[in-house]
Symmetry: C3
Subunit: 236 residues, 3 copies
């Protein structure tokens, strides 16, 4: 989809243009609770997961400008494929391939197909619980999917070293929130906390997302986060 | 995305073309329970909130033809930005800017950035409850978002006079339903009732939306509406 | 949206390209639990229902190549219109009309507007329960929608003979899962079972969908399927 400019916004909705400048560009992005680099990871993950294509080019370029590497963008797209569906990732590829080509970003700057993987202890501390739950809850109903989940998603993708464990968790939590998938969000928030993602980061991630996915989806995520942070146990 | 014609539909699915003509154009839109103008507001809000771009041009023009003013369309887009995310509004801008340009609609027909605002009593009767709930439920978990919600969304956007309070509620309820956000829908239905939106209007709004967002999403909204109308209190 | 190639994917995310080839093309689609034709029906239904347009051309052609007829594709698009909204079907029409034109597929290969309908006993065994629930739950709240549901959706669309009852159920269950509409999914799984769709088919349908709509949406569907299959009654 064609990109639009702030003047296009002003030609349709002058107040919306002002809110974009004051509340998002000069407001949200300047809040110190998250770095511009982290906001880029979150924004890109949300837009890709929701196939919100109109902002793709702008925010892929913003990500590269705020310190997200091409290799990290590549890994985010791959991670989101699993959490929001293959076509969301392919829609991102349709735009990123041109950005990479224009900037001369070639294979040597991209993550290899088969890097040396992290250990489960490094990438997935406390993952025994996930394996048990997956087997007990889903083993009898979708055994094929459980096998693929263990072998490919958790046995390989989550162990790839080309995106930090911290950032892979940010991208995944964001993809869940951006697609309205709150059923397992509590489990993923606990998982993120286990690798050092802080409550303050999650709080600001949700605040940031309100503008990109809408208030109701953000507040639904806040309800789940509240339950997890207040120690009421996981909602699921 | 390119527009399609009814003949295109017929070339793929003749029955679907017939249902479009009989059940929607000559059926749904002729039902007296809502005016064509109200149906336009609802349809536009649903399509924009769901980024269902293929119908944008057709229904933006239908809205203008049935009495929705450019200023009102502009406000609907702005309101939906907050409830379904900024990119939904920007996707609408991408199409509306051309329609406005073709019709010679310029800044003097658009709402100003900073109009004289309605009072909370006019636009948000009973809003004390919302402020309390927001603070109690979300104050500790996402304080930044609560502040922005009070200052910008309820302190400014909801008080803008360029869309009637009635129509702003129709647009907001529709955006929630069209994005599958039923968690807070009960609260918004009660809010709409407080400014005079009737049960008959909500009933027909849901019936209308079934064709545009699908039966299951419409029936899920009906479940919530039933609870609110039968006085079982708000589900949330 | 423009189509992309596997080389485009490789130019952005080499690992994602490898997973596409190994896990999807040579993995998932080769699993014997569902035929390639059934996988085509499921994939097309999921992509159309979610307006995941980037894969439309590829998978419409795959469907035709694996034995789904133009008439069946036409009916799937019509069925999904009701379950995911008219614009999802119209987005499919925008791509299918060109594919049909290129292949010389004309009206004589498409389902007629008014074929001789199946009887409710043939297409909708056990439908009395649905009629009662619809009337009791929704009769007072959205009487107009209940009438249209009985007359048009169940009185005509579900009785059309141009897609087998089995396949119409696959398409519908898929549309519900792909749009995250789990509230009534249990009812539709029971309905599918009543016409002979097996637990093994549903299990593999969910496994298949994980790649196309993402893991969380597929696992949410598995939770509902588990409840239905284990006889805990319908969640709704």
């Amino acid at each position: 989809m064609e990109a639009i400019t702030i003047d296009d916004v002003r030609a349709v909705a002058p107040a919306l243009a002002k809110y974009t400048e004051d509340a998002i560009v000069n407001g949200l992005w300047k809040r110190s609770a998250l770095s511009a680099r982290d906001r880029s990871i979150i924004t890109v993950s949300a837009l890709v997961a929701g196939e919100r294509t109109i902002g793709f080019a702008h925010y892929f370029n913003t990500a590269l400008a705020t310190g997200v590497t091409p290799a990290e963008l590549s890994e985010i797209v791959t991670q989101v494929a699993f959490y929001a569906g293959w076509s969301t990732a392919f829609s991102a590829v349709a735009v990123l391939k041109d950005i990479f080509a224009q900037r001369g970003i070639a294979a040597d700057q991209l993550p290899p197909v088969a890097p040396e993987l992290l250990t489960p202890q490094q990438a997935l501390p406390g993952d025994d619980a996930r394996v048990s739950i997956l087997q007990e809850t889903f083993g009898a109903i979708v055994p094929g999917l459980v096998e693929i989940t263990n072998d490919l998603l958790y046995g390989e993708v989550w162990l790839r070293p080309n995106l930090s464990v911290h950032d892979r968790n940010l991208a995944t939590v964001t993809a869940l929130i951006a697609t309205g998938q709150t059923e397992f969000l509590g489990m993923y928030l606990a998982k993120a906390a286990a690798v050092g993602v802080t409550k303050a980061e999650i709080s600001e991630l949700i605040t940031h997302l309100a503008f990109y996915i809408g208030w109701p989806a953000a507040l639904s995520a806040a309800v789940v986060a509240k339950g997890v942070f207040e120690g009421h146990g996981l909602p699921k």
